[in-house]
Symmetry: C2
Subunit: 347 residues, 2 copies
C-alpha cells in the first residue's frame, strides 16, 4: 500500500469534483491499486492557499473556499509555490501536485511554472491543464525524467477518455504518423445546433450557461482550445515541438451558419477539425479549421459535445477513440486515472 | 533486459505474420521495453511440431511449414502439448505460449486445453483465439492467478486495436455496465455492399477470397464469431460467466438485403449489433442480431471491414473505440502488444 500526499494547485470546479471523486473511490483505490490519498495542500488564486501536514479538512475547504475562508482548513501559505515547496519538503514517499489552473493561451503560465517547480522538487505532476504539454512538453518531460517522477495530463484532451494513456499503455511499439479530430465541445455543439436550424449566439450562450464553454468564449470560438490540444497531441504522440501559436488556426463565426446548413443539405457536415501530419522534411505541421466532410466520416457523426480523435498509425492503421458524452466527473476522472498511472510506476 | 522464450501453438497466417513482426520490431522491443524474444517451439496441426532449446531456425520453419518439412527446424515433438511441456521444462525466466489455433465454436477446444496446460505449467499465454476467453474465462483467469502468470487475448476482439488492454490499463476504476458493438468484419462488409446495390453471395465470396471471412462462412454469417466476441467481452469487462451458446444470436441471410436497402433509403442503416447489459437481477445478458439504427449512430458509420465498440461506463459515460481498417498485421500486432503487457508485469 502506498500513501500519496496531494497538493491541489487550482481549486475550481474540476479540482473540487476531483476531491469528491477521490473520496467516492477511496475503497477501490486501496483495494485495486494499493493507493491511499490525502490532500495536504490547496492553492487558489483568489481565496488564499493552505497547507496541513496531516491533511487539510477537505469538507471544510470545499465549504470555505466559496466564502473566502479557506484559511480555516490549514496553515496559510503565500501562494501556490509555497504550497508546492511545503509538499516537496515532506518525507512522504509519494508526493503529487494536481494542477488545475485555467489555460493561459499567451504562454501557458503560471501552470508551466507550477509544473516546473513541482517536478524539479521531485513531486509527480498530474494536470488537466493543456498549457504545459502544449507549450513546454519537451522541457517538462526532460525535467520529469531527470527527477524520476511522472508528468501526466490525460485531462488535457477529451477529458478522462484515454488518449495519452491509451497510446502509452495500450499501443506499445505503435508509431503515430498523424491525426484528425474534433476536440472542442463548444464549437461542435454550435455547429450541430446550426444544422438543426438554431442561431449561433444562443447556442454559444447555452454552452456558457452549462459551464462547458471557456470563460473567455474566444478560446473556443477562435480555435485556441483546439489548437492547444492539437499542439499537446503532436508534441506527445509525434515528438513534435509545437506551441498553440504554431498551429495554423481558423475558428468559427456566425458567418459559418450558412456553410454548416449548406453542407448538411448536401449530405455533408461542417466540423472544426484539428489535424497534424509529418511532412517529408520530418517536421510536424498542425492545423485547426472548419472543414466540410462526408457524412460517412466518423467525425461527421459527432453531435453536440461529442469529441473524437482518429490516429493514423503504422501497425494499426486508423484507430479512433470517441467521447460520446461530457461531464465534470469525466474531467476529474482524468486526474484520478493519471494518479493510478503514477502508482503503477512505483513498484 | 528480459529474454523471453516463445512457443507458437498454431502456425497459420497470424502466427507467421507475428514471427515476421517480431523480427521487424526486434530493436524497438529491446530498446523501449527491455525485451528480447526467441521462438523455441512450433506446433502445427498438419505439419508436425518441433522444439529447439536454443531457438528454432525461423526462416527455415516459415519456408518448411508450407512443404510439410517443418521437422528440419528442430527436434520433432508429438504434438502441441509436448511443445508446451518442453517449453515449461526450460529454465528460461520468461516462457510464453502464443496460441493461434482456429476457433472451435462447439466448445473452444483444443485452444482451451492448450491454454490450461501452459498456465498450469507456469507459462504466460497470449492468444488471438476467442475460444478461451469466450468459453472458460473465469477458470483460466483463476489458473493464471494461481501460477502468477498472464493470460492475455487482445486479438480476440477487433484485432490489435486495444479493447481489453484499453480498459485494464487506461481506464482504471471504471465500471463497464454494458456495451454495443459491430464486431464482425465479414457481415459488416456484406451489409454495406448490400447498401451499395451488390448481392449477398458475391460480397461474401470477396471476403473469403481476401481471407477475412472464416473458413466456415457460417461462423461469420450466423453470428457465431460476434457471439464469441460478445461472450469474451462480457466475461472480461463485466465479470459475466457466459459462453457463445448463451448469447441470443441471429445472423444475416440473403433475405436481409431488402431490409438493408430499405433502412438505407429511410436514412437508417442495418448493422449486425452485439450488445450486453446487466439486468436488475445482476445477470449479464448478451445478444447478437441485425438491428436498424439511426444514421447518426456511431455504429451506422462503419463501412466494410470497420468495427467499433461502445462501452457504457459509470465514470466516463459512453466511450467508443473504432478499428477503421483491417489487416493480418493488426491481428499479429495484438499478440505483440500482449507480449509487451506480459513484460510490464515482470519488474
Amino acid at each position: 500500500m502506498y500513501r500519496a500526499d496531494l497538493a491541489l494547485v487550482g481549486f475550481g470546479n474540476v479540482a473540487r469534483r476531483f476531491a469528491g471523486l477521490l473520496a467516492e473511490q477511496r475503497e477501490r483505490l486501496a483495494r485495486d491499486h494499493g493507493l491511499q490519498c490525502r490532500v495536504v495542500g490547496i492553492a487558489t488564486r483568489r481565496h488564499g492557499s493552505v497547507f496541513a501536514r496531516e491533511g487539510v479538512a477537505l469538507d471544510e475547504a470545499l465549504a470555505c473556499a466559496d466564502s473566502g475562508r479557506l484559511a480555516a482548513a490549514g496553515d496559510a501559505c503565500a501562494d501556490a509555490f509555497e504550497v508546492i515547496d511545503r509538499l516537496a519538503a515532506t518525507e512522504s514517499s509519494v508526493r503529487v501536485v494536481v494542477e488545475t489552473t485555467t489555460l493561459n493561451i499567451e504562454d501557458g503560465r503560471p501552470a508551466i511554472t507550477h509544473v516546473e517547480r513541482a517536478l524539479a522538487a521531485g513531486c509527480h505532476v498530474v494536470t488537466a491543464n493543456k498549457g504545459p504539454a502544449a507549450f513546454a512538453y519537451r522541457r517538462l518531460r526532460g525535467l520529469a525524467a531527470q527527477h524520476d517522477v511522472c508528468f501526466l495530463f490525460e485531462g488535457a484532451v477529451m477529458d478522462g477518455v484515454p488518449v495519452f494513456n491509451l497510446v502509452r499503455e495500450a499501443m506499445p511499439l505503435v508509431d503515430v504518423s498523424g491525426f484528425r479530430g474534433v476536440l472542442n465541445s463548444t464549437t461542435n455543439h454550435i455547429l450541430t445546433a446550426l444544422e438543426d436550424g438554431e442561431e449561433f449566439a444562443p447556442a454559444l450562450a447555452r454552452m456558457q450557461a452549462q459551464g462547458i464553454a471557456e470563460a473567455d468564449p474566444s478560446l473556443d470560438i477562435d480555435g485556441w482550445d483546439a489548437a492547444a490540444k492539437a499542439a499537446a497531441l503532436a508534441n506527445v504522440l509525434m515528438d513534435a515541438d509545437l506551441t498553440p501559436h504554431a498551429v495554423a488556426r481558423r475558428g468559427i463565426t456566425p458567418a459559418d451558419a450558412s456553410a454548416a446548413r449548406a453542407a448538411c443539405a448536401r449530405g455533408e457536415r461542417l466540423r472544426l477539425v484539428a489535424t497534424a501530419e509529418r511532412g517529408s522534411d520530418g517536421l510536424v505541421r498542425a492545423e485547426v479549421a472548419p472543414r466540410t466532410i462526408a457524412a460517412t466520416d466518423l467525425l461527421a457523426g459527432l453531435r453536440g459535445v461529442q469529441n473524437a480523435l482518429i490516429l493514423h498509425t503504422d501497425l494499426l492503421g486508423d484507430v479512433a477513440i470517441s467521447q460520446l458524452s461530457g461531464s465534470l466527473t469525466m474531467t476529474a476522472y482524468a486526474l484520478l486515472s493519471d494518479l493510478v498511472a503514477v502508482r503503477r510506476t512505483l513498484d
